[in-house]
Symmetry: C2
Subunit: 328 residues, 2 copies
Amino acid sequence: MQYMIGIDLGGTNIVCGLVNERYEMVDKVKRPTEAALGVDHVLDKMADMIDELFAKTGLDRSHLLAVGAGIPGFIDPERGVSIFASNLKWHDVDVAGRLSVKVGVPVFIDNDVRMYVYGEAMSGAGRGAGVVHGVTIGTGLAAATVVNGELYYGSGFMAGELGHVAIDGETTPCGCGLTGCLESVVSATGIVRQAKQALEAGRDSILRESYERGELSAAHVSQAYDEGDALAVDILTYTGQVLGKGLAYSISLLSPDVIVIGGGGALAGERLFTSVRDTLQRSVYYGYLERLTIRPGELIDDGGVIGSAAFAKNRAEKLRHAAAGGAM
Amino acid sequence: MQYMIGIDLGGTNIVCGLVNERYEMVDKVKRPTEAALGVDHVLDKMADMIDELFAKTGLDRSHLLAVGAGIPGFIDPERGVSIFASNLKWHDVDVAGRLSVKVGVPVFIDNDVRMYVYGEAMSGAGRGAGVVHGVTIGTGLAAATVVNGELYYGSGFMAGELGHVAIDGETTPCGCGLTGCLESVVSATGIVRQAKQALEAGRDSILRESYERGELSAAHVSQAYDEGDALAVDILTYTGQVLGKGLAYSISLLSPDVIVIGGGGALAGERLFTSVRDTLQRSVYYGYLERLTIRPGELIDDGGVIGSAAFAKNRAEKLRHAAAGGAM
């Protein structure tokens, strides 16, 4: 049995997992990122976490095939470089090159959203499907597409910023430079913003209490929805409509077999999906919907690690195949 | 030099062209389709047109590599079957199998829009680009994407029905079952419909004369735009906005290097593109626009034939490579 390491690098924490060839998590560890201490500190910590996992599990390190790391921001997966990660303050960091020297096996990196969706496609809610389109709903919203086991990149490896399409009727300024981006509605942040604005405009809701305590979260909105709160119902219905209208384009342009909805926002589940499905019935040719399944992610917590490990396996095997003289 | 035949099969006419390896049209012929006379009549006519082209040009028929045919409707390009073509009244017609028996070389078929966009990608406005997204604006609107020289298909070979996404504020019923499809605005038909509805509502315009003669066409709207007619300006501006909002999703999901706008609607040119570009500035992350070029098609009339020929060459070479034991 060969093993891969999958790393999910976030602004707050690093999660490092040891994954087997069946894409099962053998063991994982979690440490604070401490990006402020510099790139080498973060890369050394990753290497230490890998050592720790082999020590803990007693597995033979010579069976480690490769390391994959999912990193936020813009990535060049071919060169293995983090081009820009705002929350890590990384610019043009050769992560693959520098980390592979420390760990002695090939390292492959990609954007964290793509790694997550790749994990769902290979071993989660999209397993066995030809075209898997994944959307992660968290602080923001982003998408990725896996076509017959390979990530789709587009020009500049930039495909997938579905959260940064400006939509009609929305006026929230976005850090990307646009106004009224889709993720200003469809994200945990967007759900909370909608609730706050309605409460500040005087709307009645059981959400007012948590708002006044300064604790209002997307989870509170889901809970209020379950209690029949009209404002929460309106917010999640509208959020589902906006997501559905966006996904209508994903479906028409990509014709996916499965759409996986992941990230914390997926926890809203059917509260959101019902509205998404209703919107799609009105927005997209029925022939697409007949062949499409929309599912919540199965790997919510581990998706980034398992996806990174699966990605590393895919790339390492391709490199070996190419080195052995085969065509790719 | 090897040659390919490219066939552009429409409801009214068949255009059959002899194309060389540099994707240059050597000669072409055009005949009425006469689909009502049956499938064999149409396929026999195609075979006759091919004979005629070799007779006319005096070229050696043994240099014919393959035949490609672009066919409207739903196609299974792997099996070479026309699944459904409403204007030909074809259901499950094994075009590739039946035509290859008549012509003695392999025949490859695909949807006419994909063939056109493939032609633009290989030898027209998208030549040399990695990701080419093409939109044809004619009676309706459809899209196709070529990624590193290969068409993108999606589940069921169905990707590309961008014209059948329902948009806000539109109420025209569509044959696809939806209401307010994007192509009810962004098409020659949609431009004429908008003009008629405005004139019937009493709006003042120089278009009234051609409307009352029953001759109003999209070309009249373009002409009126050039003469500063306010209604024509409003229609093409709004049409460009709707197209721009749709393309914002194409761009975010696919990150194309080039968007090619083809079909008769492309004749509106800058009258439409100015509004498309203005809308994109407000609707999509600027990083995409920095690397993107939006161009009218270069092969408007010959795109279907050249694309079909190029597609046939690609498939025939792949088959040969596979037969020779190489991986694809």
